[in-house]
């Protein structure tokens, strides 16, 4: 974990700026809605709304770090969500089998995109554009343009369910202990290699702040209905993907391929395989997002996931992922997704017209990247 210290150092200020931006956005909407925005009910809603974009952003950030882009994820999400709905409504497939099939299909379609990009050398932008049209077309074809409903309750639980209060508390405790253990291990490692150590009290304060945040998080959600299932899923992905990007060979290679593909290839890394699997993972994330989306709507819609790719890409860039590849973080992308979801949610509460919502979101994206590019250039 120490080897990403430098990267964290550079991105720390960026993340702080983002957190401050979120605080501003939340304060503004709370003031305008007279506190309606920060009620447990709305925050729970906000997090559930964020989950689909967040799941996509987890995969998208890997794609962008590897120096590519995937524009087909919105359509692929819609297609896979539609397939899940059809399997559920017309064949009554058991949930586990349905999940497995949809995830496998997502993996295969993602690998197909990756194969075209990495091995057939079609630029990923074009593969994405083609997929965006083709996947949406297939979805329209298999649904006949109709909404597929009603899906069964066990599927709906994936998108609308809540953890029981006790489970939420248990989750918070487990996460707190994990934070404690990781911080302690990190200190021990740094001490062993005689690396500069932060004072013990500062690490202690950090752990306590994280603990307090977890407590507030779970208590707020529990005072409504509990921790929503898709939010739990998102937390799991955050942990898994952070682990992959910072602790594994595969993760290191994603950064390396995106930063200098030629040098990486000359170092004996199979760069094509790295890109192939990054797209494969993106496909699986589309499947998960599609399932959650279908579950949230309790139906498969032919327009599901429309423009989803733009939200996911915007989330990554707002979260500080470099446009030319080679750097970026999972938590950054998720904070970016939270920014997008907060804007959506707050403006909807204020009854701002859709057109204004689009203008504001577009402007925020450009503002965030403008700040990013200019702070980078000044260094």
């Amino acid at each position: 974990m120490t080897h990403i210290a430098i990267k964290q150092f550079f991105s720390r200020y960026k993340i702080m700026a983002l957190l401050i931006a979120i605080a501003f956005i939340w304060a503004f909407f709370s003031w305008k809605t007279e506190g309606g925005f920060v009620t447990p009910r709305n925050l729970s809603n906000l997090l559930r709304q964020m989950s689909v974009t967040g799941i996509l952003a987890c995969g998208m950030v890997l794609v962008i770090i590897a120096g590519e882009i995937d524009l087909s994820v919105g359509s692929l999400l819609g297609l896979l969500g539609g397939v899940a709905a059809i399997l559920n409504v017309s064949t009554h497939l058991p949930l586990a089998l349905n999940l497995g099939l949809v995830l496998l299909l997502g993996l295969l379609l993602g690998l197909f995109n990756g194969y075209l990009t990495a091995y057939q050398r079609i630029p990923s932008f074009i593969v994405g554009l083609g997929g965006m049209l083709a996947f949406r077309g297939i979805l329209l074809g298999i649904t006949g343009g109709m909404t597929i409903a009603p899906v069964s309750d066990d599927v709906v639980y994936l998108g609308q369910g809540y953890l029981p209060a006790q489970a939420g508390v248990a989750l918070a405790i487990v996460l707190f202990l994990l934070t404690l253990a990781l911080s302690w291990q990190r200190r021990r490692n740094r001490a062993r290699h005689a690396l500069p150590l932060a004072p013990l009290w500062r690490d202690g304060v950090n752990v306590l702040i994280i603990g307090a945040l977890l407590l507030i998080f779970v208590r707020t959600l529990n005072s409504y209905d509990g921790v929503p299932v898709p939010v739990l899923l998102l937390l799991g992905l955050l942990g898994l993907f952070s682990y992959v990007t910072t602790q594994t060979v595969f993760g290191r290679r994603i950064y390396s391929v995106g930063s200098n593909m030629e040098a990486t290839r000359l170092s004996g890394v199979n760069v094509q395989a790295v890109k192939l699997w990054v797209f494969g993972i993106m496909g699986v994330m589309c499947a998960l997002a599609g399932l959650v989306n279908t579950a949230r709507l309790a139906a498969g819609s032919p327009s599901a996931g429309n423009m989803g790719e733009l939200d996911a890409i915007a989330a990554c860039f707002i979260g500080g992922t470099s446009m030319r590849g080679g750097s970026g973080t999972i938590y950054g992308a998720l904070i970016g997704a939270l920014v997008m979801a907060s804007l959506d949610n707050g403006m909807s509460m204020l009854d701002v017209g859709t057109y204004w919502q689009m203008i504001v979101k577009g402007s925020i994206l450009m503002l965030a990247v403008w700040v990013d590019v200019n702070t980078r250039g000044g260094r």
């Binding site: 120490t2 040098a263 000359l266 004996g268």
Partner: protein, 515 residues
């Protein structure tokens, strides 16, 4: 008015603490062609960049008189306005645009409203090409439809259109066939007759001999001599170009050389853009255990293409076989080569060596990352131990292995790239220009490391443009010229003259018989 068109007096230029040029004096009369000779890195390009305004007046010492008046060019535009035009080694044409559009680029003839005045430009372009005895070029066709020779002439037409009175040609023939070169030399003679002066820079001394009136030689940034061509021979030019004493930078060569371990047979590779043209032509050689083989040759002779083919990194078409430990091996990708123990440190550190977003340590372990992992998870502790070990071994100067690699100096970046490949435990290590852009101290350390590796039984192939370095480090020297193996010398009192002559293909070839 002065007898001379151009007088450069006492030109000196510093880069940091390095004196790249030290008191150069050159005079050129109208209609004179002067050949500027010197080894790679002698300072020819720097001098021409000063003359053509790339380095503005004030960033160098000395004086330039143009038509007897001081010339103070602050940019390329200023010197072009005076009539000094440089034609670079790499062609500066836009392939998709037409011949006429290229000739008039930046000086387009226009009609009211900013429209291009094509009839006038076509007419003028045809006139220019007729002057160059190339009336068969259709000026409305894209430049890319014509071969390298014609493109070179389009560059010259572009220069003439700027009313050039002094034309600087930097290696104009490096991409030309011999018949195209003959045309080019004729055109230069024609220009001379019209009073246009030329500075001709070429490693091909037979061209210099054929077209130049005067020869100016520079070596290590110093002006050696300016002599009329009729009083010189090609051998005398070579003798003036080299003759630098080999210093004690190089470690003694006392390592044992073992049996043949590596063999390249009939390596041929073809140009990426012109699949018919051979860049390397049927080169075969052997390498013994613990032997250091230097590959010398001029820039563009095909050395990099040869070694990157051996390593499996050449992007174009190629043929030939590679043998390791007596068995034919598959080295069709860097991954396969590294697994076999054949490693390469590439020439272009920035493009092919470092991964800029990763830290120093992460760069060092890039090639062998999987060896620190259990089930895909990196054992950070073992990785860090290896990194600190390599940093100590290479005397790599970095405050921390977690710093970005881009924060290091060129020499230390090079050491990191070397460290990366050494971790892969090569049997055969290819080093392509291992000391390019590296300061003198780091150079000596790299030479010491090369010798130490050879003593451990690693066989080394070192490509270098610095002859002194090749002779100082190698046990054996291969000379590549125009893609062919021109010489294979055992390095016993081998002289730079012999190697350079083989590279330029002037003197008879001294093929070694032993060992």
């Amino acid at each position: 008015m002065s007898e001379y068109l151009l007088e450069m007096k006492g030109i000196a230029k510093q880069f940091g603490g390095v004196r790249a040029l030290d008191g150069i004096d050159i005079k050129i009369k109208p209609g004179e062609c002067i050949g500027l000779c010197g080894e790679n890195g002698a300072g020819k390009s720097t001098l021409m960049k000063i003359l053509s305004g790339v380095y503005p007046h004030g960033s160098w010492e000395g004086e330039i008189l143009w038509d007897g008046q001081p010339l103070r060019a602050h940019s390329v535009r200023d010197s072009e306005a005076a009539g000094i035009v440089i034609i670079h080694q790499e062609l500066m044409l836009v392939p998709q645009l037409s011949v006429a559009e290229n000739i008039f680029m930046g000086h387009e003839l226009t009609l009211p409203g900013g429209r291009m005045n094509y009839p006038a430009m076509y007419q003028r372009a045809e006139e220019l090409l007729r002057e160059l005895q190339m009336p068969d070029i259709n000026v409305a066709l894209p430049v890319m439809q014509y071969g390298g020779g014609h493109q070179q002439l389009v560059e010259i037409a572009k220069a003439l259109n700027k009313k050039a009175r002094l034309l600087i040609l930097d290696e104009p023939s490096s991409s030309l066939s011999s018949s195209e070169i003959a045309v080019l030399l004729n055109i230069i003679r024609g220009l001379k007759a019209k009073g246009v002066a030329c500075v001709y820079i070429s490693h091909k001394l037979e061209e210099v001999e054929a077209v130049c009136d005067t020869i100016a030689v520079i070596r290590d940034g110093k002006h050696i001599a300016t002599t009329p061509m009729e009083k010189m021979t090609v051998e005398e030019i070579i003798a003036q170009m080299v003759g630098r004493a080999i210093t004690t930078m190089y470690p003694p060569r006392d390592h044992a050389i073992g049996e043949v371990i590596f063999e390249a047979r009939h390596i041929t590779c073809y140009d990426v853009d012109h699949p018919q043209r051979k860049r390397v032509d049927d080169v075969s050689f052997v390498l013994r255990r613990g032997e250091i083989v230097g590959i010398a040759g001029l820039v563009g002779a095909g050395r990099t293409e040869l070694v990157s083919t051996l390593f499996g990194a050449y992007p174009g078409r190629y043929s030939g076989t590679v043998w390791l430990d007596g068995k034919q091996v598959d080295t069709s990708s860097p991954r396969k080569s590294i697994r076999l123990g054949l490693c390469m440190v590439p020439e272009d550190r920035k493009q092919h060596g470092i991964v800029p977003d990763l830290a120093v340590g992460q760069n060092i372990t890039l090639a062998v990352l999987h060896s620190f992992s259990r089930h895909g998870r990196i054992d950070a502790e073992r990785e860090l131990n290896t990194i600190t070990g390599q940093i100590a071994r290479m005397q790599l100067k970095t405050a921390s292995p977690f710093l970005p690699i881009t924060s290091l100096s060129g020499g230390n970046q090079q050491k990191a790239v070397l460290a990366k490949m050494l971790l892969a435990q090569p049997k055969v290590l290819i080093l392509d220009e291992p000391t390019r852009g590296v300061d003198v101290g780091a150079k000596a350390e790299i030479y010491k490391l090369i010798a130490a590796l050879a003593a451990q039984g690693v066989s080394i192939i070192m490509v270098s443009s610095e002859l002194a370095e090749v002779l100082g480090v190698s046990d054996r020297v291969l000379v590549i010229g125009e893609g062919k193996l021109r010489g294979d010398f055992v390095n016993h009192d081998l002289s730079q003259e012999t190697v350079l002559a083989a590279a330029i293909n002037q003197a008879e070839q001294h093929r070694s018989t032993a060992p």
